[in-house]
């Protein structure tokens, strides 16, 4: 699904991540790592939001040679979203929905499922961190993505919304969507069948043995 080759990511000449070769198959992948280990940088790079050296491909679409197709099929949910405070959740969702070619039906469903309706038309400057997170999650599921990257999807949201996120991930996964997740907490493995587990540490990404319970299932 995602092929990463010779990826070098630096900030101002300071190397922060180096991935010689990594192939992510279809499925749900979990990236662990301490604060500042480079998870978010890796995710943002994959989402086409940061420049880098190397090659990233989704199937046959190269991030540089096919920027539109690539970006149409990869979505990203921020760990700690921070939007311009005058934009409402509706402004953001409608803007992304149009760009990602999402139907109004899908927009309405996500708004309802994630409980965004009560603050849909309020400027995001008035939102709590949970409301911002719900908005970013809705944005991440819009369109017909092949890959959805969710950076710390479970932080700042209440238990009921956590269940909704599990539901959404399961549903999209059943439709063949690949997920890249990062979390400090363990995912509930009965809810999410994690295919590969990675550790982001010392500027490298290393595959770890699958989480406990996974071997029992597969």
């Amino acid at each position: 699904m995602l092929q990463i080759t010779n990826l070098h990511k630096s900030y101002g000449g300071h190397l922060v991540l180096q991935v010689p070769s990594l192939f992510l198959k279809e499925g749900i992948h979990w990236f662990k790592g301490a604060n500042g280990s480079g998870k978010t940088t890796f995710f943002r790079t994959l989402a086409g939001m940061l420049p880098f050296e190397g090659e990233i491909k989704m199937g046959t679409w190269d991030i540089r040679k096919n920027p539109i197709d690539y970006r149409l099929h990869i979505n990203y949910g921020e760990a700690e979203p921070d939007y311009p405070e005058f934009l409402t959740a509706n402004d953001l969702i409608q803007f992304v929905a149009k760009a990602k070619k999402a139907s109004q039906k899908q927009v309405d469903e996500l708004i309802e499922l994630l409980g965004i309706e009560p603050f849909l038309y309020q400027p995001s400057g008035t939102y709590s961190s949970g409301m911002l997170k719900k908005t970013s999650l809705a944005v991440a599921f819009l369109g017909q993505p092949k890959v959805i990257i969710l950076d710390e999807p479970l932080i700042t949201i209440d238990d009921a919304t956590v269940q909704k996120v599990y539901e959404l991930v399961q549903r999209y996964h059943a439709q063949g969507v690949t997920f890249l997740l990062s979390s400090h907490q363990d995912f509930r493995f009965e809810a999410l069948p994690i295919k590969q587990l990675f550790e982001v540490k010392d500027k490298k990404i290393t595959e770890l043995p699958p989480p406990r319970g996974e071997n029992d299932r597969h």
């Binding site: 943002r44 939007y83 509706n90 038309y121």
Partner: protein, 377 residues
Amino acid sequence: MLSVLHILRKTLVTEYYRLNTGFLFLVAMFAFGILRPEDHIALASYVFASPFLLALMGVVFALYHFKTVFFVRQRLLWDSHSFLYNLLLIAKPYRWAAWLYVQWMLWLPVALYVIFVGYYGWWTGQRLSVIATMIYLLLVPVTGVAAYEYRLQRPNPDTRLSIVTTYLNRRFNKPQWSYFILYLFSENPVLLFLTKGFSCFVVVGICKIYPTDSYDERLFSLGALTIGMVHSVLMLHLYEFEHLQLPLLRNMPMKMGQRLQQYGLLFVLMMLPEIVFLVRYMPVGLNWGYIWEWSLLVIGMLFLLFGRFLQKHYVMDTLLRQGFYAFFIGFFLIMFKVPTLILALGSWGIGLWLCHRFYYTSEYIIHQEGLKIRPEE
């Protein structure tokens, strides 16, 4: 008390001057680059002699005062500055004195200028006007103290929306090209007002000067160049705004043509006041063809400036140096009679190429200090 002043100086005063280096530099460049010290003294004697001009000067200084007050009040809304609410634990007289200190430090550029011209005004006999100006100079910072104290006593401003705003939010989606304009109105209104006020003033001034001597169209091109330079700070804000507040734009599957179209609409909208003023005050002898060329030039310069930001991450110091070089290059091109249309097409061509070439490789560089591993990690 000294430690409180030290914290306020570091968090508010130093930060204000750091972020406004470009603005203050541009003001200083136009104030002292164009006018000589003796011109300032002559100007001061005119101003002190005319109540109207004196009031006008008061309005200009008040605008600067609002800019500083707005900056501090915005900082007080930031989570990172919430510790400043601990100032409530300090006795009122000390707290007010601390705020007065902050406001005076921010007011310093105006105070020094007024003392400079006031000195000459006093010796030329305009003593009443000078005294009135000095009283104004002393009283205005007190309003800043009141504004900060008000914010401190009411830390969570009412964010309920009016019925009209709610209706508009429900009825309309904000188009992408409007995001930056809305950002300027909501977060940097004083910068927006000062920039547009200054550049419209330049347009009107040139329109008034043009018929008085044997000037040619180069005068307008020089005006366009000045307007472009003044807008470099706004373009820096656009660059920062997109990278820091809307990084998701780069994840959107939009063709480069669509992106450039959005920038084009934004830049036309941004330059509309100057174009309207030029049309409104268009002097005899200037033709409509030139108005089009001039409009293309000012919009093209925004593309050029924004493209340069995408090409290379600038800190304010580099921006100022580059701005100087660009201004002198533009100045010589205009003085050597390079046609405005060629300059406009050149700006558009290079600007569009830079945007196209560097859009996806552009990156907002975090300060090196921010990359160091913190001890707890």
